[in-house]
């Protein structure tokens, strides 16, 4: 047997043992998930004892297939995207043994949802400008400030928090990274209503919120380094999976064009087909990117993919509203809601058009992405950084 076959056979044995001891048909969902974690079959690329077996990330796909085939429950990963995608790898990389043991298991099972307290009204693209202050008081930190664009904050038990612990040094050096208890009385969560009418995100106000020093991740003053590890994992998560033709936003417009001949306008046809071609080329570029990664040639195309995705979703949803004519003048519902799961393609065309405006802002604005491509890929001169060497407290704001 090849090494790969040996690994798979071993995983099969472990999955069978898990299913044998915990029959999904009879055992409680949460009990099964906890047992799966303890068997190292939660995320096999994590270390043994922390829900994994120290294998590669790709092997988890195999485990998931086996479990799904047996009718096992899953941990509903979309409900805890920040926890699984960002908090967990950061805790693994920078957490103490005690932190790993305390936080990773209920995070993975979904018992504890996580959110991210990074962005602030005054620290968006310039994240290192965060002004939320954490002041030491014996064994705890007292935190004051305002965070924004926090999805899941109203459901979260814990948050990863970036705060300023030393205002007397340049901005990148004076931050620390914490795990914040969202049930602390100093934490107030308010829905942040968007142009779509709904509140997908929250504002979080921290007023003398208390964080034990034992919940600091990484050394004091090293918050920027830890935060970058978090953001790196966010980018790994982008890249995505193989999708069929027309599975993206263009599918809606194509469907409308096919099924509603009365809406077809000759003057819109060339634009429709240009966007169709661009969407298909973007889809194939995703395939090419995955092929490059599989061939061990990771390239810088990922940042370009997001630029293209944002532009296309905006153009396509704009065309969709125009095609619909009179119907495009209506909107499904402006009532304030707090959706559980964000789906860019959900709801009506008007919603899709408005929600797509966020695609070129969230997760790095298109302008910042262009800077990154120009500087890191094309080796063009970096933007001037006027605040680089002055203490944070002296930066004009």
């Amino acid at each position: 047997m090849t090494t790969e076959e040996t690994v798979r056979a071993d995983l099969k044995t472990r999955v069978d043992a898990l299913l044998e001891a915990h029959d999904p048909a009879t055992v409680e969902r949460l009990d099964f998930l906890r047992a799966q974690f303890d068997a190292g079959l939660a995320w096999v690329h994590f270390p043994e004892g922390l829900g994994g077996l120290g294998l590669s990330r790709a092997h988890q796909t195999y485990v998931n297939e086996l479990l799904a085939a047996a009718g096992a429950p899953d941990n509903d990963p979309r409900r805890n995207g920040i926890g699984l995608g960002m908090a967990a790898p950061t805790i693994l990389a920078y957490g103490t043994e005690e932190q790993k043991r305390r936080f990773l298991r209920p995070l993975w099972t979904g018992e504890e949802v996580w959110c991210q307290l990074f962005s602030e009204p005054g620290a968006g693209s310039d994240l290192a400008a965060v002004a939320t202050r954490a002041v030491r008081d014996g064994d705890t930190w007292v935190v004051n400030g305002q965070k924004v664009w926090t999805s899941s904050a109203h459901k979260a038990r814990w948050a990863i928090l970036l705060a300023r612990t030393d205002p007397d040094v340049p901005k990148h050096r004076g931050m620390s990274y914490f795990i914040c208890d969202m049930t602390d009385p100093g934490v107030e969560v308010r829905p942040l209503r968007q142009i779509t009418g709904e509140a997908e995100f929250n504002e979080v106000f921290l007023s003398d919120a208390r964080v034990p020093d034992a919940h600091r991740l990484g050394a004091e003053g090293e918050g920027w380094k830890v935060a970058n590890a978090t953001l790196m994992n966010e980018r790994v998560a982008i890249g995505g999976n193989a999708t069929p033709r027309e599975a993206s936003m263009i599918g809606f417009v194509a469907h409308t064009w096919r099924t509603r001949p009365e809406l077809r306008r000759p003057e819109a046809h060339d634009q429709l087909m240009s966007l169709w071609v661009e969407a298909e080329v973007a889809r194939l570029s995703g395939t090419r990117l995955r092929q490059k990664i599989a061939a061990g040639q990771p390239g810088p195309e990922g940042s370009g993919m997001k630029l293209t995705f944002a532009r296309l979703t905006q153009q396509i949803t704009g065309l969709e509203l125009q095609l619909l004519g009179e119907e495009g003048l209506r909107y499904d519902d402006w009532t304030m809601t707090r959706p559980d799961i964000v789906d860019f393609t959900g709801r009506d065309p008007g919603y899709r058009y408005l929600r797509a405006k966020g695609n070129s802002i969230e997760g790095g604005t298109s302008e910042i992405l262009r800077n990154i491509i120009a500087e890191r890929v094309l080796q063009l001169p970096a933007e001037p950084r006027a605040d680089k060497d002055i203490p944070w407290k002296d930066i004009p704001r």
Binding site: R264, M273, L307, T308, E367, V377, L378, L380
Partner: protein, 368 residues
């Protein structure tokens, strides 16, 4: 259709390197610019080196039919390099389009001489012809000779043998005519690195290559030409990007490198993203053609649409971002602008291509 390999194989990379080395040595920009002033000294020797020394003429032809037994993927890899140099050689017209017509037609004797690089061939249609809009205008006269006029033919200037679609009562035949038997008048062309010619047939004798279905062979050849020209357009866009980035890094104004100004660096970032998308579209067209994948027709139409426009945009940005020097005769940017614009119009302009694609993928233009 998700299995198509969109990367370069080691063989393709090695092939590109040898073509690039030869062109670096023999195809200097000033010599290419000189073709616009009527100096055609460069072409014959350069083409001989590529066709015979590197054996590129027979790339698409199976070994048992006298060729190198490679595929559309390798031909695309070569075209990418030819585009990068705006090389004035008839590879696309003879080794891709005419060769594909002969492969489909089944004339192995003629095919072998073209594949061996001994003779150069050209399909006699206006270079602007879209694969779906082929119209034969040449007819057979009472004496069995060919009569007719076809304007703006690419590759005819370099050709030893002409492949002529001929209209007959029950369809289209494909005839081979010795270049000496036709009147070939070079025309002043937008892109003199692929100079066009008007071809007059005033009673030329010919050999019938295909009796029935000559139009099918020629359409397939033009479609492959469009699919692989996308790689040439990729080479054009890549040169424009690389050259512009290099220039803006070095160029200083207002006491700093102009490549550091956001108004310019953002445009270069967009150009980079677009060039990578161009590579995706071009590779997909090449690999589906090589595999005779059912999606090859859609892939060719997508590539023609996308890569035509992106090469033009890259060349236009190249001229603009170079400033004054980009408008000069001396700087090679204009070679790429002219090649890109001519390629955009050639083999079906992008709007016509998208209209056709709409029919193929069931998103038709309204009929009213």
């Amino acid at each position: 259709m998700n299995d198509a390999n969109l990367l370069y194989t080691d063989v393709e990379t090695a092939l590109q390197e040898s073509v690039r080395d030869l062109l670096t040595d023999r195809c200097a920009p000033e010599k290419v610019i000189a073709t616009y002033d009527g100096d055609r000294e460069l072409q014959p020797k350069l083409w001989r080196s590529l066709a015979l020394d590197l054996g590129l003429a027979g790339l698409l032809v199976p070994e048992e039919r006298g060729g190198a037994g490679a595929s559309a993927r390798e031909a695309a890899a070569v075209l990418e390099e030819l585009g990068r140099f705006a090389a004035p050689v008839p590879f696309l017209t003879s080794s891709v389009i005419a060769t594909e017509a002969l492969l489909r037609a089944g004339d192995d004797a003629l095919l072998a001489t073209v594949a061996g690089g001994e003779r150069t061939a050209a399909v006699v249609v206006p270079f602007s012809t879209s694969p779906d809009e082929l119209r034969a205008t040449v007819r057979v006269d009472g004496q069995g000779a060919l009569r007719g006029r076809v304007t703006s033919v690419a590759g005819a200037v370099d050709a030893d043998v002409l492949l002529v679609p001929v209209e007959v009562a029950d369809g289209v035949e494909l005839h081979a005519v010795e270049a000496g038997a036709a009147r070939i008048t070079p025309v002043v062309s937008l892109d003199m690195t692929r100079q066009l010619a008007d071809v007059d047939l005033d009673g030329a004798s010919s050999t019938r290559v295909v009796e029935d279905g000559g139009d099918r062979a020629v359409r397939a050849a033009l479609e492959l030409g469009a699919a692989l020209m996308a790689s040439e357009q990729l080479g054009v866009a890549q040169w424009c990007l690389d050259t512009t980035v290099g220039y803006l890094r070095d160029r200083t104004q207002f006491g700093r490198s102009v490549g550091g100004f956001q108004a310019l660096k953002h445009r270069l970032a967009d150009l980079y993203v677009m060039t990578e998308s161009t590579r995706t579209a071009a590779r997909y067209a090449a690999t589906t053609a090589a595999d005779d994948d059912p999606d090859r027709h859609v892939a060719a139409l997508m590539a023609k649409s996308y890569c035509s426009d992106s090469a033009v945009r890259a060349a236009e940005e190249c001229v603009q971002l170079h400033g004054g020097i980009g408008m000069t005769w001396e700087h090679p940017a204009h070679l790429y602008l002219k090649r890109a614009k001519a390629d955009q119009v050639a083999l079906g302009n992008p709007q016509a291509t998208r209209r056709r694609l709409g029919e193929v993928v069931d998103l038709p233009m309204p009929t009213t």
